[in-house]
Amino acid sequence: MRWLKEVFLNFKRSGFMSMISIGTITITIATLGGYFIFNESIAYFETKVENKVEITAFLNEGGEALSTETLINEIKLMPETAEVLYFSKDAAYAEFTKDEESKQVIDSLGENPLPASIVVKLKTYTQKGVEDMAKNLRAKPQVEEVQYGAKEVENLINIINVIKIITFVTGLIFIIASVLVVSNVINLTVYARRQDIYIMQLVGATRSFIRMPFILEGVIHGFLGGLAGWGVVYLITNIMLTQIKKETGIDLSGFYIVGANYFVTKFLLAALGAGTALGFIGSIFSQGNPPK
């Protein structure tokens, strides 16, 4: 009770400082939220692209069913393999002859010239990973020829990986920056009230009596900042969705991250939690005693 009263007094007395503290946390949470949504979008976009990268191994004519099965099992056992698909000669024929013209060409050859093939998908995609797998496959006696995604797609994957690293590092920097900023703001609050703190110490206030309001204040600022930060992300997301729809015609409002179920429950809770945690960590990191 006393503490809450203290905190309320602090709010009343230094609304200016409180605004800065809350504002900083708002910016932080908005940044982290934005980063999170951005990252999720990239991840989403990435799976889309990655699914396109497959390594196809065309098998030797007349390879026996048994040795093919051995090959598939061998590849399935490799740690980097996500999925292996088998396409028989017939399957290849069916696929190739879907359009009339090609069917004519193939049929004119008299027999099915298309080889059986297996398609390998990898768990993670790096240029090196793809090349290693291709080399691996090429070394198998059952394999005639190996093909994999065009050079451009590989480049794309590499660039995505670079972006991934960049966003990760950026995210990390932001979290560190946030804690620094928050604890600095609380330090500033302590600094601005150094006279008060000093006087309270002189009158016999214990350390916890003096620190408690600052910590509670940090937590409350964090909570409010989290709420406001969520609001900012919510607003910006909605504006951007409208804008995107207008510009590209894509309606992303069904995307799971921005859906009400996710955004208004889980994401809001996360923002409040993160804000409160930031406020708490910041106030813990701040010095209890003002500089002389």
Binding site: Q195, I199, A205
Partner: protein, 218 residues
């Protein structure tokens, strides 16, 4: 009992504020601390209050040495004293009421009692009507009265008063003295630093006279 044993205090830049102080003050005594500006009166009170630590020597309160108290013990120790600071040291963004209540609030006394006690004190000190003002809205004499009220609100066994009449008009000053003598009569130890010769001479109490950090008369 308060005892200074060979106490020296040297501030930054080699400023010698106290130079071999040896004094004893009995429980319940009323003592004046006199001496010209810069003689070391405030420094003696600050040492007693643990606002400063002696450069050398020891200070005993009730035979306990107070130089090595930890932070928590120091807070509790300070609660056993009331200090009227020469520069008041009021919280500028709290009301008069809150300032006077502070020593009760930090000890966790019930709100109801605090309210009653502070209201009484405000009445007694002639601060009625100013409860809701902040210290910067007070005249200097009023600030001093708030500082005095805060110092005595917990009825501490020891009161340290640093020039508590400096900003009071004569009438208020005499009133304060009457009141302090009353507290002294009830067993409160009072150490009273002042320049005011009129006041010191009137009561025939012990005067510890300082000059350039030395005791020149006990």
């Amino acid at each position: 009992m308060i005892k200074f044993n060979r106490v020296f205090k040297v501030y930054e830049k080699n400023i010698k504020a106290l130079d071999d102080i040896n004094i004893e003050i009995a429980k319940g005594e009323f003592v004046f601390l006199a001496g010209p500006s810069g003689a070391g009166k405030s420094t003696i009170l600050k040492l007693l209050y643990r606002e400063e630590i002696p450069t050398m020597g020891t200070i005993f309160i009730d035979n306990k040495e107070i130089t090595h108290l930890n932070e928590h013990k120091m807070a509790l120790y300070r609660r056993s004293m009331g200090f009227v600071f020469q520069d008041f040291k009021l919280l500028f963004d709290r009301t008069v009421f809150e300032n006077i209540a502070l020593p009760l609030v930090i000890t966790g006394i019930s709100e109801a009692y605090t309210k009653r006690r502070v209201a009484e004190m405000i009445e007694k000190k002639g601060l009625k009507g100013k409860e809701k003002l902040n210290p910067w809205q007070l005249s200097c004499g009023e600030k001093q009265r708030v500082a005095i009220a805060r110092a005595v609100i917990t009825s501490p066994p020891v009161i340290l008063a640093d020039e508590p009449t400096g900003n009071l008009d004569e009438e208020s000053a005499w009133e304060l003295m009457k009141w302090f003598l009353e507290l002294s009569g009830k067993g409160t130890t009072i150490i009273f630093a002042t320049h005011n010769r009129n006041i010191m001479e009137k009561y025939g109490k012990r005067i510890i006279r300082l000059k350039e950090g030395k005791v020149v008369e006990v």
